[in-house]
Symmetry: C2
Subunit: 333 residues, 2 copies
């Protein structure tokens, strides 16, 4: 800690897209996220540094740094014209498909609001974190920032973030994330998509997403798994970007997963399973690790659940949810 | 009654499309539907007649009559090669946008199954009623037949009827149907649609339908009304077919309806409202009747609820739900 006034926040990583949920569905995950400490500084500029002990170190230009842009929006909304320094401790690397930049954007916005003693409306906070995300991705999509801010699953019209509904994760729902050491360029992934689709496929796509949303509302793991694998537009168009997807998916399904698909534009893959089935987690973890090796890739396989609390305001000994002020166990940073 | 063995069934009219629910969402409504009596006859043919006291009389060619085609499918599935005569008593005219042919298809299929003492699987029954519907519309869409068969709201991949989820209507949800004396040709309505849509609009369409499905699952009348009005693809493309829609919609919203949109491809319009609000039904009914007159149209305004029981097997004094065998009050035929 320095002598300056400071505040610290943590925001979870997130899944997005999930098959027919492309640009419309995201979900916060536990155990993985970014921490940002915001400090008041003399002057009027926002500066950024990365904690070298974090999982990743990125560019610090405040014009393009997602955390700096989000913090700047919060400061401006609160009428603060002074200086800020942000120290970002990344829990995950960029380019994973797990909402890394969104986690930094959200943690920076929440830490800055807390530091400045403000209370932004949810709408103003959403605008700030979407602006932060857009600084990196070039697109004002909310499908990672909203889940990271609010927790749970968030169904939304992505570029109209005020139109969203939040659904909680539930006890039975387990997640396994396979993160291969492979690079997927978001720009390439966008380019692979068709500009136009037949109306009949658009209608079918809509029905599949509605089925997926219904499965979430009913808390039906099997149905969630089925419908998250049902996309017929985005996943087929991008399939060549993920030469390992089929092998990992086959291994997941053969070992009892309810479903398996790409998160974001990859390379991360997420499988969902029923946590109440004894031994399933262990057999899935072994099968997915073997599939990754068999595909000739390094990488990791990790176990998660949905993080229902969203962004957390931290002090030395406790954490509270930004969304509702509830006390929450300190995250594993 | 004749001396021949017979069985009788009733199936409700239905809403379909409902904005972003185009080809994906339908709902059975109470108080309006068709009754079909199926009689065993000598010989091997299926014949059809219409009860002249019904609301409409249609063509009786068994190759294109929706009831005859559905009954034929059921008979074939049960291995029955004998003759059948179907007497159709229409509760609503064709061409209203309220699932008239679907109601005949479903009532005929259920009456025939009952007559022949069979028990088709739900999947076989769906195939029969979809075939009946296709005989009239030329398209194997399930968005009216499934709600008519099963009751409640049904979200589905319309041309894959096995992929559906059923949601019940709830006490707070009131419906007002405005049925102008106006003709909309289904073929014209199909032709007005674009063949292709931009991916971004397909994604947005999917999000809107998912929001609508979520509102149904949460039983949120206000949200249902909002999202059923949110379609940005089908309704704008067909808007010219319904020159009275805007005036009726404005009247409905100004008088406190939660939402208002076309059912099917019209001309019927459905508004939804909160039944718990005292006096709302009366003011809506007056406002919508006035709007219809002001638009220079004859027609009717009627009050409904969602019919949760679906198709009913009738005898002289009682009715039971086809779906679950529950006893149900006799429908108003």
């Amino acid at each position: 800690m320095t002598g300056n006034r400071s505040a610290t926040a943590w925001a979870p990583a997130s899944l997005s897209n999930l098959g027919p949920g492309f640009d419309a569905l995201g979900a916060a995950i536990d155990g993985l996220g970014d921490t940002v400490r915001a400090e008041e500084t003399p002057g009027e500029t926002i500066t950024v540094s990365f904690d070298p002990e974090g999982a990743w170190v990125g560019p610090v230009d405040p014009k393009s740094n997602t955390a700096a842009v989000a913090a700047g929006h919060v400061a401006a909304s609160l009428g603060y014209g002074g200086g800020l320094h942000l120290i970002i401790r990344k829990g995950l690397a960029a380019g994973t498909g797990l909402g890394s930049s969104a986690a930094s954007s959200v943690a920076a916005a929440v830490a800055t609001e807390q530091l400045l003693g403000g209370a932004l409306s949810q709408e103003d906070m959403m605008a700030a974190v979407v602006a932060g995300e857009a600084a990196t991705s070039g697109q004002a999509h909310a499908d990672n920032v909203l889940p990271s801010l609010l927790g749970g699953f968030v169904l939304m019209r992505s570029i109209h973030p005020a139109d969203h509904v939040r659904m909680e994760g539930w006890d039975d729902l387990g997640l396994i994330i396979v993160l291969p050491k492979a690079e997927v360029m978001t720009r390439e992934a966008r380019k692979a998509l068709p500009d136009m689709v037949p109306l009949s496929r658009a209608v079918d796509h809509a029905a599949r997403l509605a089925m997926l949303a219904n499965a979430l509302q009913r808390r039906d793991v099997r149905s969630l798994g089925r419908w998250m694998m049902s996309d017929d537009i985005v996943i087929p168009a991008r399939h060549h970007l993920w030469p390992y997807l089929d092998e990992v998916t086959d291994a997941a399904l053969e070992s009892g997963a309810a479903g398996c698909t790409i998160s974001g534009s990859g390379p991360a893959i997420v499988a969902c399973y029923d946590r109440t089935k004894a031994g399933l987690r262990e057999s899935l973890q072994a099968a997915l690790s073997a599939a990754l090796r068999s595909a000739g890739l390094e990488g990791g396989v990790s176990i998660h659940r949905i993080h229902n609390h969203g962004a957390l305001i931290l002090d030395d000994e406790r954490a509270v949810s930004w969304r509702n002020g509830d006390p929450v166990p300190l995250p594993n940073r």
